[in-house]
Symmetry: C3
Subunit: 139 residues, 3 copies
């Protein structure tokens, strides 16, 4: 059996990191499935999904690390050609990929206690994001 749903969520951009665990868990509950895989996939090319302990210190640490991995203040060809000014966001999203797939069993995601599912929006402006959820499994 399959179940699909969307999470629509506003962001502030600039590596805004948002805990979406409650909404992902609500969708799984709504699906009625108890055993299977749940894919969490952000639509678009300037954002990602990952897991982290949702604690303000390490959230800032992750933002700092992203800044080191693909700095905002270096030249990007994308900006020269398109003038969007968000070349850094495209590169970050391509390196981190758009989604994750999480197992679930007995109706619960196999997440640790301090492991939350987060959306990271890399874009250089506030965005309205759509995240596709797709569960495949059994009751």
């Amino acid at each position: 059996m399959t179940y699909s749903a969307y999470i629509d969520i506003p962001t502030r951009g600039f590596s805004d990191i948002i805990d979406i665990t409650p909404r992902v868990e609500a969708a799984l509950s709504e699906s009625g499935l108890t055993e299977g895989l749940l894919s969490v996939f952000v639509i678009g090319s300037t954002a990602t999904i990952t897991t982290i302990e949702f604690e303000s210190g390490v959230i800032q640490d992750l933002k700092d690390a992203i800044e080191r991995v693909a700095p905002r203040d270096i030249p990007y060809r994308h900006d020269g050609q398109w003038g969007d000014g968000n070349g850094f966001a495209h590169v970050r999203a391509a390196l981190l990929k758009p989604g994750i797939t999480i197992p679930f069993t007995s109706g619960a995601l196999t997440l640790g206690t301090w492991q939350q599912v987060v959306l990271i929006d890399f874009d250089n402006r506030p965005r309205q994001r759509r995240i596709a959820l797709q569960a495949v499994g059994e009751r």
Copy 2:
């Protein structure tokens, strides 16, 4: 239901980035499935799959970012032991992982308009690559 297929594709290596979206979409159509998950997984340890806006500027930006994340011109133990000269390619592939899983609904992948599926071949020579596609879902 399940459906499996392969994409066989020649590359030039050296972070060659190839848009495989049409072939992935063709496989999904061939599967006859309309709701579920599609895994796109490159076989081998010196390549990856991700999504990006397939535009020449940001494609080069991504290649430059990969060069900064795991430079080609530093010593790698793998090269000392095996003489392949592609230690950088192995490290890049391990950091970026071999595949992605994409939801599909109503027979279409949940990709954004400017979000293409790409193969990146990190190896230091042209390669013939095989990508495994596996869909799980329902009609």
Copy 3:
């Protein structure tokens, strides 16, 4: 059909990289499924799963690359707030994500000959890790 199992495994932390391919393959065999997707997902926020050629040279190369991507010896806010001293491990795990999904067909994972599935434990101490395996597919 679905099948779930766990791998419980001790690590030494500090980017300990462990080949779990035989245990993943054993679980797939135990499942009786021949066509589908297998998710390998480490529970917790300071570890990851990826694939690499399991060869001592490139294993050390990967550890060195991880050290460059998110260095251990810089300040992390997480450590100031929580005193765990493992802020670097949280950041590394968030960047690399918790799991991978691997297709299987004819009862075998679509891995290359030199492509092993590994657990990387980034934490700053030995840990007892639990990895969730979930297969979805058909016989």
